[in-house]
C-alpha cells in the first residue's frame, strides 16, 4: 500500500507541476489586441501598435491619450506580443527598455499582473490598449487585432 500511495502521490505531484508549467504558457491560444469600446479604431496593424507600445506615440490618431498595458516580461503572452509587434525577443526587449531608461527616455507601458487585469484596465480606461488570450475576450472590450504564428492580422 505504501508503494501504491507513494506512486500515486508522485504521479499527481508531477501532474500538478506540469499543470503549473503549462498554465504559464500561451498554450497555442491566439492573442487578441483589445481596446476600450469607446475607441473608434476597428483594426490596428503592427505598425500602429509598435509606437504605442514603445511609448513614442502617446495619443490615438483619432485623438485622446493612448494608454498601453503590458504583461510582465516573463509572461509568454508578453513575449509573443513583443516578438510579433516590436520585433524583439525577450532578451532584446529587456535590453530595449533598459537602454531607454538609461537614456532618460519616456517610461515603459504600465505592467499588469494578469490578462484579467489587462481586460479590466482596458475596459475601464478610454485610451486603454492591451492584449489577452483570444478565449478571454468578452463584450467589455473591442478586439482590434489578432496575433497568431508571430503575425499580426485584423480582428
Amino acid at each position: 500500500m505504501n508503494t501504491r500511495r507513494a506512486f500515486v502521490s508522485a504521479l499527481l505531484l508531477s501532474a500538478t507541476l506540469g499543470l503549473c508549467t503549462r498554465s504559464s504558457e500561451a498554450g497555442g491560444d491566439a492573442i487578441v489586441v483589445i481596446v476600450n469600446k469607446a475607441n473608434p479604431a476597428n483594426s490596428l496593424s503592427a505598425g500602429d501598435l509598435r509606437p504605442i507600445f514603445q511609448t513614442t506615440k502617446t495619443s490615438w490618431s483619432s485623438g485622446g491619450e493612448a494608454t498601453p498595458f503590458n504583461l510582465a516580461d516573463d509572461n509568454p503572452l508578453r513575449q509573443d506580443f513583443d516578438q510579433a509587434v516590436l520585433g524583439l525577443d525577450p532578451d532584446r526587449a529587456s535590453r530595449y527598455w533598459k537602454d531607454r531608461k538609461i537614456r532618460g527616455g519616456a517610461r515603459a507601458p504600465k505592467q499588469l499582473p494578469s490578462t484579467g487585469a489587462v481586460l479590466r484596465a482596458v475596459a475601464t480606461n478610454e485610451g486603454g490598449v492591451g492584449y489577452i488570450k483570444a478565449s478571454e475576450a468578452n463584450a467589455s472590450v473591442k478586439v482590434v487585432a489578432r496575433i497568431a504564428g508571430g503575425k499580426v492580422s485584423g480582428p
Binding site: M1, N2, T3, R4, R5, A6, F7, V8, S9, A10, L11, L12, L13, A15, T16, L17, L19, C20, S23, S24, A46, G47, R50, P51, Q54, T56, K57, T58, S59, T67, D74, V85, L86, G87, L88, D91, R92, S94, R95, K98, D99, K101, I102, R103, G104, R107, A108, P109, K110, L112, P113, S114, T115, G116, A117, R120, A121, T124, N125, G127
Partner: protein, 511 residues
Amino acid sequence: MPRTKTLKFRLGLVAPLALICALRAPEAFAQAPAAAPPTPPAAATPVPPAAATPVPATPDAVAPAAPTAEAAKDLPSATDLATLRAELDETKKALEEVKSQQSDAETAATPAEDSSSSGDALKIYGFMDMGVSRTWVNKSSVLSTIFQGANNTTFVVGNVNFYFDAQPIKHFRGLAEVRFTNQPLGEIVNYGGLAGTFQRKDSFSYDSGGTALNAPIWSGGVILERAWIEWNELQALKFRVGNFFTPFGIWNEDHGTPTLISLALPQFIIQRQMPIRQTGMMVYGNAFAGDWELGYAATLSNGRQEISNYNFNNSIGLGGRVYARRDTGSVNTTFGLSYFTGTTRDKETDVVIDPSAANGIGFADKTKFEYTEHVAGADASIDIGPTRIRSEAVIRRQVYKPGQRPPGSALFSPGSFAPDLWQETVYLLVAHQLPWAGLEPYLYAEYMENPTIISDASLGLSLGLNIHFNSSVQWKTQATRSMFFNALYHSPYDVSANNVSQLYSRLVMAF
C-alpha cells in the same frame, strides 16, 4: 521580481496540492474495487519510486523482477486512473479559481489608470561599470607625463550612476541622475619645476564619525549628471526645465555604458565640441507620418557652463535637433540633424582702488575671454537585426570677440593667444551580434581635425568586443590606436611620437 513572484506562486500551490494528494490517495484506493485486475497501462507504468529507493525490508517494499499478482495489485487500476483524472480535473479547476482570485486581488491592488499612477511615483535604477585600463604612450611624448594614467595598468571604478525617476502626478515627471565617484583624489593640482611646487589633490581626512580617533577616510565627489522636471501631456509638445543632456546626435543621449556600443567615448564628446549638458528649458515632441516618426527638440539655456553655473554675459545658448525615425521591427533607421550656438564668457573680478567707493576700495570686472560658437551635426543610426551601425559628423566654428582671446599655452607657446578654430569630426561604428554566447564584436573609426598643441588631426581605430551575458550584464573590451598627424599645417616636430595605444575592459551592469 515577476519570476520570484511566479516561483512563490507555484510553490505556494504545489505544496498544498501535494498535501491534498497525499491525504486523498487512500480515499481513491478505498473507492476502487478490491479485485480490479491489472491493466496493461498499469503494468507499463515505471516502477514506483518506493521500490527503486532502498527502504527497510518489509514484504511490501521488496520489488520482484517481474510483476507478481501482489505487486500488480499495488499498481493503479483503470478505475484508479479515472478517479485520479477526475481529481486532477478538480485540482485544475481549483487552481484556475485560485489564479482568478489572485488576479482579482492583484488588479484591485494595482491602480490601472495609467503609468503615472501613484504606484510608480518613484523608481530608482541605474548602471555601474568596473574594470581595468592600460595606456601605452611613447615616453618621449608629452602625453606620457601630463596624463597620470599613461603607461600604467590601473583598475578602475568607472561609473556608479543612480537614477531617481519621479512621477508623483499624471503628466509631470522629474529625473535626477547622480554619479558617485572617488574623484578628484590624486589629480595634479600644480605641476612642479617651472610651474612652482608640485601638488597632488588629497581628499584624506579623519573619520569624525568613526570609532577610532585615527580612522582615515578619503572622500569622493558626487556628480549631478542631470536633473530636470517635465510636463509631458502632449505628444507633440513636451516641456522640460532644469539641467539636461544637450539633444545633439546619438552619442550624447545614449550616454550610459550599457547603452553605448563602444566603451571609449568619441573625442568630440570628450573634447566637448558642443556642451554635453545645459541648464535651461527644452521643448520637444514628435508626430507620425505613415511609418515615419518625426521628432524635434529645441533648447534655450545658459549655454556652456563648464566654467561656472552662472551666466556671465546674459547671452543664451540656442540649440535644436530634428530627426526622422522608421522602425519596422526588423529594421530601425534614424536620421538626425543637430545645431547649437552660444556665446561663452569668463570674467575676472579684481579688487581695485576706487575713490568713489565708501572706503576707497571697490571691485571691478574684466573679461578673461569671450567667444561665440556654432556647432552642427548630422547622424545616422541603423539597426538591421543583429547589426548596429552608428555614424555622426560634427563641425564646429569658434570665434573670439576682438580683444577677448585668452593667452595660448604658457608651456608650449608662451606669449601667444588662442586662435579661432574650425573643428571637424566624423566617426563610423559597425557592430554585429553573433548568434552565440552573446558576442558582439565591433569596429570603430573616428577622424578629427582639431588644432591642438600635439597636432591638428587625429585618427582613432578601435576593435572591440561586447559579451552580453544577459540583458543586464555585459563585459566590454576595446583596443584603440590613436594616431596624430598634421593634415593642415607643416610641423617641424614628429607628432607621431604622441601616438597612443589603449586597452579598456569593463564589466557593466544595468539595474
